[in-house]
Amino acid sequence: MMTPGRSPFGQVGVALRAMIAATILLGVLYPLAMTGAAQVLFRGNANGSMVRVAGHEVGSDLIGQTYTRDTGQKDAEGNAMMAPDPRWFQSRPSAVDYDAMGSAASQYGPNNPELLKLVEQRRAEVAKLEGVDPAQVPPDAVTASGSGLDPHISPAYAAIQVRRIARERGLSVDEVQRLVERNTTGRTLGFLGQPTVNVVTLNRDLAEAN
């Protein structure tokens, strides 16, 4: 046997055997063992923290959704034009329309004129929908998230939606307020990240409320 290291071929043979061993251990055994352990220890998390209504999966509490309705009109390309459904809390804008199979950000630069136009347009639309002063519309309501799947909005954005939801659903403002609070999470450990309101679970609770 040729001593490995003396010839380049010796090293290539070792390299090939090493890659095969690594693939079996790290590429097959490791992920399978981790999947097994995760499924036993943290089943709900490992499978995507699914949200159910009457036993049926209606989403994941980590993946945002759109809450829109068909306006009955068609755009220039013949696609149905959708508008926010006033009966639901609205998520943030998304660069991918909450298509969970294509997570992405808008990639607009901070001075991009198209982004500026979009932000102004969104501000006007949100202000009109909620019946508030445009200055009250918070930043997360007019910007698209990094994943395009952000399930959260800021407490400020939830707050300006409460009156509309109460009116549309014939609930009292206090009742809606309570649901918002139930779906609000503070910073983890009190200081990690930002306070958030989960739109997916909030709307689920809303559906169950009436």
């Binding site: 690594a22 630069g109 952000d150």
Partner: protein, 553 residues
């Protein structure tokens, strides 16, 4: 609690966790690389590989082993992607086209994890876990092995031998990366990261719309993506994706994992050269730079400059609600200072100077604290340059850790320092002079567009992997050119480092005299910080003025 105090506490906790891990992990790593005992599993592995674990290699053989292992990995990963549709768990996805398969193989073997594809639409589960995740482990182990070989070069004297690559590789995987990944991966699942083998499954939402929810063995890949400073996301949105990074806690865990090994390796270095203070000095330089860039990135993001950003009221475009500016800037600074390239927010949408800070952070050469292994060897090379500069000032032959820095060492150092900037600047220049390549720019008609191209080449050459994601880089031109840049940016410096290791290992140490520059004191830390900033600053200042500085000032 205000954003500012929460943000500062978050940084404080991160530093505390790293400080707590410093001695135990740094010491453990030193024992891993100096022990002459093999475990039973390792002995079986060496028998399988056909290597003599006690046979130390010269620098040239060590380098050949690194190159052979990486070349084989490159070919296997290329083939796996090209044949994906014939293999199980492909989720019905087609074979990856040649230029993209080359780019991805080069990217993961070079520990870069630049992704010019959208994983959800391109890579099935098998390619992800049997191909990409395997390279996440082994490319990290290669970097750590080379760093240890350089440390041995300084620690040893009058020898040609730097250790055995196959032993270093095996021990790094079995004793370090795998155990840490198992623990860290389960912690991530506990925070909410998914870990299953399901394909996408369709659900009907409460409004009656349908949504497909993706599955995947994410946590097992996420953990090594951060721990090995790789950065390639399981999903397109990377660590901004709620399945990869669901909350503030998982975010902190991921940042901790990114910094863990690069930071602790300085302790390992100090122990192996039998002078812990040398390790503290190197750590001091890394920490100073990281802290400065983190503060700058946070300040710029919180300032929210930019016409569109101002109109929105805050720099939240491309950022997740659960992270906000502080946790996004901390992640951005840690990922660009470590050649990781994972992102929890869209760097392209950062403020001009915030994104510019991320860009400049990579340009430092990934030494604050740098990639696993590559950060340590990168900064040790710069330390050699710093003692040389100091030696010039007083007209004395410079030495570092008792080894004379002669013309041969300086030639290797000079080549090392020239390699990466040449790739960045030449690559960006070629791309900007081609109309086809310019067409890939998304934010057109502004310095921001140029920054997208500059960011791509900086990221590739420094093996970072993050992007100004607006650039449509999935073209034959970018796939081939960036693929070559990533390979050269990884392996040219590695070979030079190993040559340097061989060169200093041969020397007889010179005794410390009153004329020796102490390399463990604050003065040297300051000098080295200065050298890092001046060398890279002077190299890149002109291009930075054309991009982020023109946009942001």
């Amino acid at each position: 609690m205000s954003d500012t105090s929460a943000g500062l506490l978050q940084v404080g906790l991160l530093v505390l966790l790293l400080a707590a891990a410093y001695r135990p992990l740094g010491g453990y790593l030193a024992r891993v690389y100096t022990s002459d005992r093999d475990t039973r599993v390792e002995r079986t592995t060496y028998k399988l590989l056909g290597v003599d674990a006690r046979a130390d290699q010269t620098w040239a053989v060590y380098a050949r082993s690194v190159l052979a292992f990486s070349a084989v990995g490159l070919i296997l990963l290329y083939l796996l992607q090209r044949l994906q549709s014939y293999l199980p768990l492909s989720l019905g996805l087609p074979n990856v086209e040649p230029s993209l398969a080359f780019n991805t193989a080069a990217s993961f073997v070079a520990n870069t994890n630049w992704q010019s594809y959208s994983p959800e639409a391109t890579m099935g589960h098998l390619v992800q876990f049997a191909g990409l995740a395997v390279q996440n482990f082994v490319s990290a182990a290669v970097g750590m092995s080379v760093a240890i070989a350089l440390v041995r070069g300084f620690a040893r004297s009058r020898t040609e031998r730097l250790g055995n690559f196959w032993v270093d590789l095996t021990r790094t995987v079995l004793r370090v990366l795998l155990p840490l990944a198992i623990v860290g991966g389960l912690v991530l699942v506990a925070t909410g990261v998914v870990q299953n083998l399901s394909g996408p499954h369709e659900i009907t939402t409460i409004t009656g719309q349908t949504q497909s929810i993706p599955g995947g063995p994410v946590a097992s890949q996420e953990v090594i993506k951060e721990l090995g400073t790789n950065g390639g996301g399981f999903y397109n949105a990377n660590s901004a994706h709620p399945f990869e990074n669901p909350n503030g806690l998982s975010n902190l865990v991921e940042i901790f994992l990114i910094l863990l090994i690069p930071v602790c390796l300085t302790r390992t270095f100090g122990l192996m050269v039998k002078d812990k203070r040398q390790g503290y000095a190197i750590l001091g330089v890394m920490t100073t730079l990281w802290a400065a860039f983190t503060a700058a990135a946070t300040g710029f993001e919180v300032s929210g400059a930019g016409t569109a950003t101002r109109a929105a009221g805050a720099a939240m475009e491309g950022k997740e609600t659960r992270f906000g500016e502080w946790a996004s800037a901390l992640f951005a600074s840690s990922t660009t200072g470590t050649s990781t390239g994972a992102v929890n927010s869209a760097h392209d949408s950062f403020t001009a100077l915030g994104g510019g800070t991320a860009l400049f952070h990579m340009m430092l050469g990934e030494v604050s604290p740098g990639g696993v292994g590559s950060g340590l060897y990168g900064l040790l090379v710069l330390a050699v340059l710093a003692v040389f500069v100091a030696g010039l000032m007083v007209g004395r032959t410079p030495e570092y850790l008792g080894k004379k820095i002669t013309a041969r060492e300086m030639k290797l150092v000079a080549l090392y320092i020239l390699a990466t900037p040449s790739l960045v600047l030449a690559g960006a220049a070629v791309a900007m002079s081609s109309a086809g390549a310019r067409a890939a720019i998304f934010n057109t008609g502004s310095p921001h567009g140029f920054a997208e191209v500059l960011y791509a080449f900086t990221s590739a050459a420094n093996n970072n992997g993050s992007a100004f994601g607006g650039l449509s880089a999935n073209t034959t031109f970018y796939n081939v050119v960036l693929g070559v840049v990533m390979l050269l940016g990884r392996f040219v410096p590695m070979v030079l480092v190993l040559a340097l290791a061989g060169s200093v290992a041969r020397q007889q140490p010179v005794p410390v005299t009153s004329g020796t520059l102490p390399t463990h004191k604050a003065l040297f830390v300051g000098l080295l910080v200065g050298v890092v900033l001046i060398v890279t600053g002077l190299t890149y200042f002109p291009v930075l003025t054309l991009g982020p500085l023109a946009e942001g000032l």
